[in-house]
Symmetry: C2
Subunit: 135 residues, 2 copies
């Protein structure tokens, strides 16, 4: 995840979720009340970045047309692009089969990464050995 490196400073106490009850009941949050959000460019399929959302960040993302994360390093909500101009406009949001990861498909304006690269995964290939089906 981009620029978000430490743990959440104020773990959420149990409280009524501000999400619809049925959705809130399906989320499997980590110890800090967060779920992982994978952000993908909707048309090209590029995986742009990974961020984190609590219930309120997800509510804002689902209802506003713009992606909002919880910044673990700064301990605050972070609407992508408000500082950089590189906003993420929501196309679809899906929850995975066991409720602990989100796939957020967006229209990304400019660079998704704070380095100026299009994606946060662009510059660091780890040189994996390639696998093949017939092995």
């Amino acid at each position: 995840m981009c620029r978000v490196t430490s743990t959440r400073s104020t773990p959420s106490a149990p409280s009524p979720s501000i999400l619809p009850t049925e959705l809130a009941s399906r989320l499997k949050r980590d110890r800090d009340g967060l779920v992982c959000a994978v952000v993908q460019q909707h048309d090209s399929g590029e995986v742009l970045m990974v961020g984190w959302m609590d219930d309120e960040a997800l509510r804002r993302t689902l209802t506003s047309g713009r992606v909002t994360f919880w910044s673990r390093s700064r301990g605050e909500y972070w609407r992508k692009g408000d500082t950089s101009g590189h906003s993420q406009h929501v196309k679809t949001v899906a929850l995975d089969c066991d409720g602990d990861a989100l796939l957020v498909r967006v229209d990304q304006v400019g660079a998704a990464c704070h380095t100026g690269a299009r994606t946060c995964f662009g510059d660091d290939d780890l040189g994996a050995v390639e696998g093949h089906r017939d092995e």
Copy 2:
């Protein structure tokens, strides 16, 4: 992430990583010693699932041609497909800009999800309000 719902039962004690020193130093692991791994079909761009890796799971993934996760629910290594036959053959592995997320591009055999769906995100659209650049 698919079928992996609880926290790691045995948090890793500090110990020498079995990864190359330069790579080990760049990983930003969570409190359980894990990083998030986004798995993407290399040609279609589908985001298939999210899993978790510790240093050993990443080492196996980088060197064997097959994807291995750390299963948080079972507390053991899990080479994708060994039970289901739905293996993931590695194409590339990239680390994100701040070292706490991996993008693993694979050739997925069959369904990535334990439900039998191609991806773990296929059946749960959350009905987000769509955003547009000109708003």
